[in-house]
Symmetry: C2
Subunit: 249 residues, 2 copies
């Protein structure tokens, strides 16, 4: 009998940031597959499972591994950091499914970095926002640039995923330069690093300052909208107009 | 001694879609405050707690209630549906905190409708996207319109929150008409209703069809990007170029 594949977002990494459903599915599965860094995050909590890993960038191999195990009758927990459906493996699993006999697939969402980073920075995403990855590994840079410009013109809050890597050390600076053609230097921004893990840190900057900040690949960057402000050291975006609050005051 | 306020996103509503940390915090708190619909979703799981509710739209009263209980020494779990930091109460709590003596505040993120809806539709958010609310209660409609246009021009996936209400029955139609000035009628879209609750349903449409669809306030709407497709009945957005996959084939 064929097993099922559960594509699970484990959130930022801490056990208690997984959903109850993710924990129960990991407890019930036969084998856990994922990039070794994420597998190491959950390994100790589910010691009796089989673990299968592949190195970074071997995403397709990892997907095929999941189908091969499921076809052997194993219930597979295929884990991703954050949300499996936001820059996660859920898409590739559905794409690759076409190459195999039918296997039951379910996607279990997790807490994505936009949510977990916002929570430690304050409340930057209380109004409309865009989520944009600065990785040009699979996306032309011109498209990223256009998205940044459009998001700034629309006064959307902006969350930047993958703001940096060894090969892309200046990408955040480049993104800030594009945003600064439209947004003021004073725009409130924030960074959230190592969310929910050792070394967790947040910083609040102006956009002019952010341009000079060096971030690593474990950092998520937040650009406020025109109303975003700092209250008691927290980055806070109010809900629209403020009509309601003023009416009550 | 002053209690603390935990602003908790409970996700789409099912107990098992809360994070472990949300459950533990609800178990440990003294009182649970929220809009009565959300309080009713968790009440049976935490029967020994005090529950305080206010009607819809009394958000500020609800926040003040939380501070008053915390100042009496109660640890307060202040609950929101979805993520407390995405169109949630975390922002208003920080804003209102200025009116009270210092109280410890923490934000516990939850699974927002973009994540939970995407998971049941397939994998529509594997690439960059914007989250836009169609509610013009606190935002001028012109601003919403501009955001829709910019998101479409940027080829972002789009998630529409609050696509409808009794007073705004034609807002999804209006939004589709704006998007159709830029996007083709054939653009893949999806709706996710009553996510994780009784009556859960998903539908996939073209943008031209979506224009004629009537949705309720418990529905979240997804507009694909130019690459979004349907695979085995699931709405799937691939990761950028597909270079990697082709290279491995």
């Amino acid at each position: 009998m064929t097993g099922k594949i559960s594509v699970i977002g484990i959130g930022p990494g801490a056990y208690d940031m997984m959903t109850v459903r993710a924990v129960r599915t990991l407890e019930a599965c036969d084998c856990i597959i994922g990039y070794h860094v994420y597998v190491d995050l959950v390994r100790d909590h589910f010691p009796d499972k089989a673990f299968l890993t592949t190195p970074m960038r071997r995403e397709e191999d990892r997907c095929r591994m999941a189908f091969e195990e499921a076809l052997k009758g194993q219930d597979v927990a295929f884990i991703c950091s954050g949300d499996s459906g936001i820059y996660g493996m859920a898409g590739l699993v559905y794409e690759i499914a076409a190459d195999y006999p039918p296997v039951a697939i379910e996607v279990l969402p997790g807490i994505t970095a936009a949510s977990s980073g916002a929570a430690i920075l304050g409340a930057p995403l209380i109004h409309d926002f865009a989520v944009i990855s600065l990785s040009d590994l699979l996306t032309p840079w011109e498209k990223i640039e256009k998205r940044l410009k459009c998001a700034a013109e629309a006064d959307l809050g902006i969350v930047l995923y993958n703001p940096s890597s060894r090969k892309r050390a200046d990408y955040l600076e480049r993104a800030c330069d594009i945003l600064l053609t439209i947004l003021p230097e004073s725009r409130i921004c924030g960074t959230a690093g190592n969310i929910g893990r050792e070394g967790e840190e947040t910083h609040i900057y102006t956009l002019g300052e952010l341009r000079h900040v060096s971030v690593d690949m474990f950092t998520t960057v937040f650009i406020g909208n025109a109303d975003t402000t700092v209250i008691n050291g927290k980055m806070v975006t109010p809900r629209g107009y403020h009509v309601e609050r003023k009416a009550n005051d």
